[in-house]
Amino acid sequence: SLSGYLKRENVRSLTMSGHVGFESLPDQLVNRSIQQGFCFNILCVGETGIGKSTLIDTLFNTNFEDYESSHFCPNVKLKAQTYELQESNVRLKLTIVNTVGFGDQINKEESYQPIVDYIDAQFEAYLQEELKIKRSLFTYHDSRIHVCLYFISPTGHSLKTLDLLTMKNLDSKVNIIPVIAKADTVSKTELQKFKIKLMSELVSNGVQIYQFPTDDDTIAKVNAAMNGQLPFAVVGSMDEVKVGNKMVKARQYPWGVVQVENENHCDFVKLREMLICTNMEDLREQTHTRHYELYRRCKLEEMGFTDVGPENKPVSLQETYEAKRHEFHGERQRKEEEMKQMFVQRVKEKEAILKEAERELQAKFEHLKRLHQEERMKLEEKRRLLEEEIIAFSKKKATSEIFHGQSFLATGSNLRKDKDRKNSNFL
């Protein structure tokens, strides 16, 4: 109780003797919010062609985008677009994120992952901004997803296996509001059974969907009633049909006209009320205080941060951060040293190898040189001998020439005599 709290905190409650004026504080808050503008981010998850874009158009009464996606995308992707809307003096920065190609692949085991990754990425961006030393949180464009509209196919039976798998992976990260799409193909009695079956499947599989808050007395009653109407059976249309003497948003069939804003025809009005008029602020708050906080805690724990250090003394984030930084620094230095050592070692080894190679090369060179020397000496010897022979031969030649010339000057008989003599030498 307030008085108990005040007593504990040594705070006395006093009565004022006149009007001071701080009752205007809520108005000041409103004015400030209006000045700043609001930001709201919706994620639509559903099969291609199920009516995501049409429903958003209808909810915000605006034709946002215009083209049909293909069924043949190999993976699931997410497409985000931001718009500035204004209603009287309230500005809304609306971001719409749609899945593209969801439910089209033959193997859908990985289909939910890109969605989870996208949601986490927005949390991460916010976390990074929060951890900055010089941060601009108040002008930061918050891209975190405030609500996920999950579009259920109107089979009339139950959830699809993909729906179960996807919602189980999203329910701890985002506020999920399931809707039955294209509900004008489900009759009233079928719808009752369908809703019951869907909710029981969600409950029995432990899927946590968003509950409209019932703690604020002014809206508790209507919110509680609405919680019992989930999932909302919706029909979207930007086409207008004349009903009575009014033009209303509707779909015209040969058997009748389905009016989007007729509560007897579908739950569109309920969805618009709950999503935009009543609970938009709660959706934003839950995103920040529950889903984002969970992400942040998990992320920081992963990085090794803790609230309570050894000896159970509280540890501040700054201290932990400094300690981490120091640790990383030390680690980095150690690694650098290690690398340096390794480098030096490698250089030494290389040097040794090169030296060895040099030595070998030198030895080879010496050996070759020796061989060469020997060969050379041999050749020199041969040359010398050859030269001696040449000299000897020249001498002989000279001598025989002189001799030859003398005998010729005499007579030819000398020649004969020489011949005989020569020949007799042979005999």
């Binding site: 069924h71 193997n107 296996t161 004008d184 009233k188």
Partner: protein
């Protein structure tokens, strides 16, 4: 004299066939929740699926594709029809549907194989024909046309069975949406080279009305259908329909959907042609392939023996 002979002959054929009775095997395929069972009930005005149990999402995660058969005997003005409906529960329902068309293709082939064996046997007096004469493939109306699974299924089966594509739960589409979707699906069928069942061209000497009807039939593909298990009161009559806060959809109202066209085509005018095409084209293809591969095996075996002998 000539025409009298023909008329007695045709009367005799007529009488004999009535005595023998007719049989027809119809397969319905497509993911859960598209109204297949309701449509079958509406087509044959029976309740084939009275005791069936529908599985929830959790149970379907690990589900495999089954093939189930329901056979009923129905009679109309002395003509008996043994109708067999083949269902494919689980098709397209798992998270990973890789090759989920395989059990279906295998089933069809098994019926061909059984007939092939029976036909080649010595005693051919009471051959049972379990071959699938027609497959109604249900396309979801909630998307923009064909999906990858639809293309894969139809391509795997178009040379085994007559495929008649159905645009299911058509009460989710306004008339311009129906036209647009039909056109898109027809374009996609051509683009992907899918050979669906072709209505035979009518003879040039048929009367104009018949020709127009025939043309209209061809342009109605895929048939945009609505089915119903319940009878409602509409415009002073009791009809099969669906009751909505904004109006009543009448299943047999040609202005509401193509149900009547489908029933006429399937039961009243083209049932025999569907059987003929199954026998003369799909089965013959299977038989030829079978014989070819058997011959290849025999030749291979013979060559192997020759080689080992030498």
């Amino acid at each position: 004299m000539h025409s009298a002979f023909l008329s007695t002959r045709t009367t005799r054929i007529h009488r004999k066939s009535v005595k023998k009775g007719f049989d027809f095997t119809l397969m319905v395929a497509g993911e859960s929740g598209l109204g297949k069972s309701t449509l079958v009930n509406s087509l044959f005005l029976t309740d084939l699926y009275r005791d069936r149990k529908l599985l929830g999402a959790e149970e379907r995660i690990m589900q495999t594709v089954e093939i189930t058969k329901h056979a009923v005997d129905i009679e109309e003005k002395g003509v008996r029809l043994r109708l067999t409906i083949v269902d494919t529960p689980g098709f397209g329902d798992a998270v990973n549907n890789t090759e989920c068309w395989k059990p279906v293709a295998e089933y069809i082939d098994q019926q061909f194989e059984q007939y092939f064996r029976d036909e080649s046997g010595l005693n051919r007096k009471n051959i049972q024909d379990n071959r699938v004469h027609c497959c109604l493939y249900f396309i979801s109306p909630f998307g923009h046309g064909l999906r990858p699974l639809d293309v894969e299924f139809m391509k795997a089966l178009h040379q085994r069975v007559n495929i008649v594509p159905i645009l299911a739960k058509a009460d989710t589409l306004t008339p311009p949406e129906v036209d647009r979707k039909k056109r898109k699906i027809r374009e996609e069928i051509e683009h992907f080279g899918i050979k669906i069942y072709q209505f035979p061209d009518c003879d040039s000497d048929e009367d104009e009305d018949f020709k127009l009807q025939d043309q209209a039939l061809k342009e109605s593909i895929p048939f945009a259908v609505i089915g119903s298990n319940t009878v409602v009161e509409a415009r002073g009559r009791r009809v099969r329909g669906r009751l909505y806060p904004w109006g009543i959809v009448e299943v047999e109202n040609p202005g509401h959907c193509d149900f009547v066209k489908l029933r006429t085509m399937l039961v009243r005018t083209h049932m025999q042609d569907l059987k003929d095409v199954t026998r003369e084209t799909h089965y013959e293809n299977y038989r030829a392939q079978c014989i070819q591969s058997m011959t290849r095996l025999v030749v291979k075996e013979r060559n192997r023996k020759d080689r080992s002998r030498n």
